[in-house]
């Protein structure tokens, strides 16, 4: 029976709670490289758009509807009207709905529409508090602009701007057939869904749980190199095989993947999951590996990639399909960035040469710069491949 000090206890509890929450908030990064899928997609979109704008007169007039992009909270689809090479009107045909999403969409979509018009065709910034919707909007907008772009300008940057929807082979698993359909646009998987999946009894639950996750994974990975969902290993393996077969069917002309397929081994006939994963050649990096093998050498300059701290641009020299030299034409500058770049860029150059393709690791402490470097390097390799 200790003496109770109610006031002291109240003060202690409040202080502990407030400082605990403040600590948690400060420990969270202000923007996370890990979520680049969502937020980072935006700057990425700007590169080809810029190119097509700079390339001049390559954007057709008319009204174009972008792909439907699935976000965490629901689908987003954008329609733009282009006139005189500029966006004159933008609206969202689909936006996340229900509950809090109504409020957020109602608030963010008008802003995004305005931004799209103001930016011309150069891409948009995320609206605060609506990062997922913004990312989806950015992607859909980009796909609409890709459709508006005629010919070389866009194809050069993104490695094939047209969307193609392909259905993979039906793969029989222990619990029933799995068949995957993917939409590939700009060398990336923009949508994945299961046309067939195990049904009946417990399978309904498992499929209902695992397939959306696998779809998400496929979009995130951009390739068939996805992880199995725990508790649904057969479905996951079937999904992977069918996804691989779908990616293999993507016509060479329409996707960067096409170039990768040329070099990648033929689809392993009903091979092991590991086999097909290894042979997959990610839609993106497969292009580089494949392209580089078929091509000789030369020097290529990648696209300018905007990072949080400034632009990054990489130039590579290829000899017999391998990177023999890499350097940064642009890197984040000013203040702390000088130090970080001065430290990270030589390492990244070294890594690019050592690895020989675009598949480099991020340098610790320079995650944004590393991500930008990787993207620019990839675009240089894409040029070499094309």
């Amino acid at each position: 029976m200790k003496k109770s000090h109610p006031f002291r206890r109240v003060m202690l509890a409040s202080a502990a709670t407030v400082s605990g929450i403040v600590l948690l908030l400060t420990l969270k990064p202000s923007s996370d490289p890990g979520s680049a899928q969502a937020a980072g997609a935006l700057p990425q979109q700007t590169a080809p758009a810029q190119e097509s704008a700079q390339g001049g007169a390559s954007v057709k007039d008319g009204t174009f509807t972008g792909d439907t992009i699935q976000t965490q909270y629901g689908p987003v689809q954008v329609r733009v009207t282009v006139s005189g090479g500029k966006i004159t009107k933008a609206d969202a045909l689909q936006a996340p709905k229900g509950g809090r999403s109504d409020q957020i969409s109602g608030d963010a979509i008008p802003k995004l529409n305005k931004e799209a018009i103001a930016s011309g065709t150069e891409g948009i910034d995320a609206v605060s508090g609506a990062s997922y919707t913004s990312a989806g909007y950015g992607k859909s907008l980009q796909s609409a602009l890709d459709k508006a772009s005629a010919g070389p300008g866009a194809t050069g940057g993104g490695g094939g701007a047209q969307a193609a929807t392909v259905t993979g082979d039906a793969v029989d698993t222990q619990y029933g057939p799995v068949q995957v359909r993917v939409t590939v646009s700009g060398g990336k998987i923009t949508k994945a869904e299961a046309v067939q999946q195990p049904k009946g009894g417990r399978s309904d639950q498992i499929s209902g749980d695992a397939v959306p996750k696998l779809n998400k994974e496929a979009v995130a990975a951009g390739s068939a190199n996805i992880d199995a969902i725990s508790g649904a290993s057969y479905t996951s393996a079937g999904y992977k095989k069918s996804l691989q077969s779908a990616l293999d069917k993507v016509p060479a002309a329409e996707s960067a993947k096409g170039k990768g397929t040329g070099a990648a081994p033929a689809d392993p006939p009903a091979g092991s999951a590991a086999g097909s994963a290894a042979g997959s050649g990610a839609a993106q990096s497969g292009a580089a590996a494949g392209g580089a093998t078929s091509d000789g050498g030369g020097t290529y300059t990648g696209a300018v990639v905007q990072t949080e701290y400034g632009p990054v641009q990489v130039r590579v020299t290829l000899t017999k399909g391998r990177i023999t030299s890499a350097s940064a034409v642009q890197a984040p500058k000013g203040g702390r960035s000088d130090q970080v770049s001065g430290d990270a860029i030589p390492k990244l150059n070294q890594e690019a040469v050592t690895v020989g393709d675009g598949d480099i690791d991020a340098v610790s402490g320079a995650s944004y710069t590393s991500a930008g470097y990787k993207k620019s390097l990839q675009s240089a390799l894409d040029q070499a491949g094309g």
């Binding site: 029976m1 929450i21 937020a39 229900g98 109504d102 409020q103």
Partner: protein, 460 residues
């Protein structure tokens, strides 16, 4: 009719039991609660990739407070589910204090959650702190299950206000109690918006399952221990008032008969919550300790007439049906760790001490009872205590005010003079808060370690 009840078989059986101290599960429980809270925070951490700006930070703070409030809400209800492990091992008084503290804390979290989230949403919509009311109205109208949540939150605020010290003293106990029962409604109403609008639950189906499991098991425990268990107990034992006896001016004993009362599982030192099914009394239940170890056909409580309820006990007619819930309380023989025991009673606090004095295992000379009262007339149950002391070879002492009103000296020195080996004793203490506090300090001064002073206090 004499007030003394003869020693029963159950009492003798208890006396024979050897000393087996049981540790209170309080520490492991608190650790588990902390781990759960860490898990809840992790849920937020795991689902939040980054915080772009102040708006995101305000909303994140709102989410953390909301998640913790949702978690603690379930525990606040659980604490009042009368789970035997809590009532009999941790102790009803301690659990009630936990409930009161965590209830206040949870309500503060709820209020912080509402303000932070609505401020964050207002910022998100490009508005300022001044628009928070409008934002709240919009959110209640537009978001799923928010209407229910708003009503539930309102109820929680009313319940919180009714429990603030001065307000609670102003309103009758029954009113306060019934307002408090609205907590169940408030918990139910606020539950759904957590799942339908809570980011962590929309995104993570495992979190949703965990939340259902948490609230589901609390509901099951409340249903079982607050409804099923008392119904079974009362159907089996069928208690009725046998007699009401005035022990001293202002202190009455109520004797109750019933079937197989030794099977109720009650031990000396424990209490039941009693509801006498007489006009004006059936809607409130009150905790009173057993003032004698339970006999197969007889239970006895001894009550000081201080409140409306305890005064009304005097008027109880023999034959009145009694609804009992219990037994509760951890102040039993299982607390002791030493051979020697000192019981200290202040006023009507003698009731559990009287039962323990009769049944605590111990050889002659091991037991001492110190009984403090205002005067020798106020020493209720004194004849019984003397009989027990004689039979068991126990020491019985009393301390009363001197004729000129001077208070007796209960200090570290006086205790050590009376009991030179006092630091070898377990001490059981029961009495009014001020008295208990004073004796506690004197005991500590006399060298009794805190873990050997066993005490129950229902003061919040």
């Amino acid at each position: 009719m004499t007030t003394t009840i003869a020693g029963g078989r159950a009492a003798r059986r208890q006396t024979m039991r050897s000393i087996r101290p049981r540790r209170s599960p309080a520490v492991p429980l608190l650790v588990a609660v902390g781990a759960g809270a860490a898990g809840v925070v992790w849920l937020w951490w795991n689902n939040t990739p980054s915080l772009a700006d102040t708006t995101a930070q305000v909303i994140a703070a709102g989410r953390i407070t909301g998640l913790l409030a949702g978690y603690l809400m379930a525990l606040v209800v659980l604490q009042m589910a009368r789970v035997p492990a809590l009532e009999r091992r941790v102790g009803s008084d301690r659990v009630a204090r936990w409930h009161s503290m965590s209830g206040r804390y949870t309500l503060s979290l709820v209020v912080a959650h509402v303000v932070l989230i609505m401020y964050g949403y207002a910022l998100q919509a490009g508005k300022t702190f001044g628009d928070i009311v409008q934002q709240t109205v919009d959110s209640v109208n537009q978001l799923p299950d928010m209407g229910k949540a708003a009503i539930g939150t309102g109820l929680l605020v009313v319940i919180g206000l009714s429990s603030i010290g001065p307000v609670r003293r102003m309103i009758p106990y029954d009113l306060w109690y019934h307002v408090h029962l609205l907590t169940y409604a408030a918990t139910f109403l606020t539950f759904w918006h957590q799942l339908s609008t809570g980011n962590e639950f929309v995104v993570e189906s495992a979190a949703k399952t965990a939340w259902y499991a948490l609230y589901g098991s609390v509901t099951a425990l409340v249903f079982w221990y607050r409804i099923v268990t008392p119904v079974r107990l009362n159907l089996r034992h069928r208690l009725r008032v046998e007699a009401v006896i005035e022990e001293t001016p202002g202190i009455v004993s109520v004797l109750m008969s019933g079937r197989k009362l030794h099977r109720m599982g009650a031990e000396a030192g424990q209490f039941f919550r009693w509801r006498f099914l007489a006009p004006g009394m059936r809607f409130s239940s009150h905790p009173y300790s057993l003032s004698a170890a339970p006999r197969p056909n007889m239970l006895r409580i001894t009550v000081k007439a201080i409140g409306d309820h305890s005064s009304a006990l005097r008027e109880l007619e023999p034959g009145t049906r009694v609804w009992a819930e219990g037994p509760y309380g951890a102040l039993t023989a299982s607390k002791r760790s030493q051979g020697k025991v000192l019981l200290v009673a202040g006023g009507v606090g003698i009731t559990p001490m009287r039962a323990l004095f009769e049944t605590l295992p111990g050889a002659a000379g091991d037991l001492t009872l110190l009984y403090r009262a205002n005067s020798t007339q106020d020493l209720a149950l004194w004849d019984e205590l003397s009989t027990i002391a004689n039979e068991r070879g126990a020491r019985l002492m009393y301390a009363v005010n001197s004729p000129d009103g001077e208070r007796p000296d209960i200090s570290a020195d006086s205790l050590r003079r009376k009991l030179p080996d006092i630091d070898d004793h377990d001490v059981f203490l029961c009495g009014p808060p001020g008295f208990a506090q004073g004796v506690y300090e004197a005991l500590r001064g006399a060298g009794v370690p805190a873990r050997r002073i066993h005490h129950e206090s229902f003061e919040m």
